[in-house]
């Protein structure tokens, strides 16, 4: 059975001026989570807030989430005191198919850096060949990075100037490769089209205003191409049917 957990915030680090990185204690979630999944976390607001799982430490029984301040809920959670208790539902949703190939290109934009980080760590531990491409607005937003990664910034004050596509264009594609991309919709669209142009399978992760996170309220839908003819589209739930979809499966 799934359940709601009361979890302690063990550690809070600030990655940028407006982005926190929390280490949360919950062995069950750490053991069960796969990259691409998310958790729904309580704050003093009415609804929980969804965050992609950024990393797990199964030996310590902890997992991490990254929180960029966008509103009252994220602001509260980004400044939460270590030792505080939050209620957490998770791991939720469907993750990436990391058995799809032996070679992966991971692409993140903005806060997509967090779920993509978990995918990177998991793929590396499986000994797969992984190339990481991170896109940020400018240098002040750069986090969870490494010298081994290709980094692009819109402002051009760090790494390659331009979008993720500028980074992807530097790559030489060999063999059977899968692309996983998390970021703003225009960016996922561009990366998906880039991957299609190279004949590569591409997974994306959808984000919508969410309530329950477990598939019962139907508020966080996105449009999927309908299987039946004559119907323009059908709505699928980001939380339960996604958040990970294959590029082309949902209408962006």
């Amino acid at each position: 059975m799934n359940r709601e957990y009361s979890c302690k915030i063990l550690k809070r680090d600030m990655l940028t001026s407006d982005t926190a990185y929390l280490t949360i204690e919950c062995a069950d979630i750490a053991n069960r989570a796969v990259p691409g999944q998310f958790v729904n976390v309580s704050c003093s607001r009415f609804l929980k807030r969804p965050f992609g799982i950024a990393s797990v430490d199964t030996s310590a029984g902890t997992f991490n989430i990254g929180i960029k301040v966008v509103g009252a809920g994220s602001s509260e959670l980004a400044s939460i005191e270590e030792g505080s208790i939050v209620n957490v539902l998770g791991p939720l949703g469907n993750g990436f198919d990391l058995s799809a190939s032996d070679s992966f290109i991971l692409v993140s934009g903005g806060t997509g850096v967090f779920p993509i980080n978990f995918a990177y760590e998991t793929l590396r531990s499986k000994g797969k060949n992984v190339t990481m491409v991170q896109g940020f607005r400018d240098k002040s937003q750069v986090c969870l990075t490494s010298d081994e990664y290709i980094v692009t910034t819109d402002a051009g004050d760090y790494g390659i100037k331009g979008t993720c596509i500028a980074g992807l264009d530097t790559l030489k594609i060999e063999g059977n490769t899968t692309v996983c991309c998390v970021g703003p919709v225009p960016m996922m669209k561009a990366v998906g089209n880039w991957a299609s142009g190279k004949g590569l399978k591409c997974y994306i992760s959808m984000e919508q205003r969410m309530a329950c996170g477990i598939g019962i309220c139907l508020v966080c839908v996105c449009k999927k191409k309908a299987e039946e003819e004559g119907i323009p589209f059908e709505h699928v739930r980001c939380c339960k049917d996604g958040p990970v979809f294959e590029f082309g499966e949902v209408i962006l």
Partner: protein
């Protein structure tokens, strides 16, 4: 029977707790969290004759003590439900309530004709005359006592299944609407569906919801629901099912004192999916400590 057993007219439920339509889908997802057989029943997602994609764009807005939704009756259609979900709901070993929505008188009649052959699998039909998020039918029918009488009478002539009429609070006089339902042969009324509301993004000067308005639910609306249950309890002879902002066992007791025979839990499931487990335990404890059966609370309100 345990202390939590209740009757809603001819329908016996093992607990007063029913999961409200639109907050439990058809039970599949919540079954991953707890054994739904502890419940008195489960009310299906609102069904229509044809599948509905629901409203586009942002469908949820949050407030301090609740949320607005504008899902717009997204559902797979009643035929798909009968084929894929009805047997599953029956297998959950709890009351099966099928929520029926429509855009016109004829829609409601056709829905009854489609469900009637499956009456052995259904404990009650909950008639949604109250969804605020669709352009025709539902709330526009449910806010007019004459149309309520007409639709409920029509359905009454087509089925012997218990008809529970879910009413909208967006009316001046809930008693007259509820009384129309009773006069037309309803077996119970469900009070209340969501309240029509709007939340505006002050930066864009546009409503958060792309449907502009939505149905407000959660603890914020509970006093309105309790008041309406209390008012109708005096005016009606048929049972009332209370619904609106229940978060814990005390809220259940409050609704029952006001006059409810059973209650529906809705938005609370979106916040704490397993809350009915806690509420059940707390109600059992309450009944034990006070040495009562829960049903004895119904309508014990003492007005000043």
């Amino acid at each position: 029977m345990s202390r939590l057993g209740v009757k809603v007219g001819s329908v016996s439920l093992k607990s007063p707790l029913i999961l409200a339509s639109g907050t439990c889908n058809f039970g599949h997802e919540l079954s991953e969290y707890y054994d739904l057989s502890i419940l008195g029943g489960l009310s299906s997602k609102g069904l229509t004759i044809r599948p509905r994609a629901g409203n586009e764009g942002v469908r949820v807005a949050e407030t301090y003590a609740g949320m607005l939704n504008s899902v717009g009756l997204q559902n797979p259609g009643v035929d798909y439900f009968i084929e894929h979900d009805l047997d599953y709901m029956r297998s959950l070993n709890t009351g099966v309530i099928v929520n029926v929505a429509g855009h016109s008188y004829d829609d409601y009649m056709e829905m009854i004709r489609k469900l009637e052959p499956h009456k052995d699998k259904i404990d009650a039909l909950e008639i949604n005359l109250s969804c605020p998020n669709v352009k025709a039918g539902c709330m526009s029918i449910g806010s007019d006592p004459d149309q309520v009488f007409e639709v409920v009478s029509g359905m009454r002539s087509l089925t012997g299944l218990p008809l529970w009429i879910k009413l909208t609070p967006n009316v001046t006089d809930i008693k007259s609407v509820a009384y129309s339902a009773q006069k037309a042969g309803a077996d119970a009324v469900v009070l209340i569906n969501t309240m029509l509301g709007m939340v505006i993004d002050i930066r864009t000067k546009r409503p958060v919801l792309h449907n502009n308005t939505g149905g407000y639910s959660g603890p914020a609306i509970k006093p309105v629901a309790v008041r309406m249950v209390a008012e109708c309890s005096k005016a009606l002879s048929i049972p009332i099912i209370g619904c609106g902002g229940i978060m814990d066992y005390k809220d259940v007791i409050e609704f029952m004192i006001a006059g409810a025979s059973a209650v529906e839990i809705g938005t609370a499931s979106l916040i704490h999916p397993t809350c009915p487990v806690d509420i059940t335990e707390d109600l059992e404890k309450y009944c034990e400590e006070n040495n009562i059966d829960i049903s004895s609370l119904t309508g014990t309100l003492q007005l000043w």
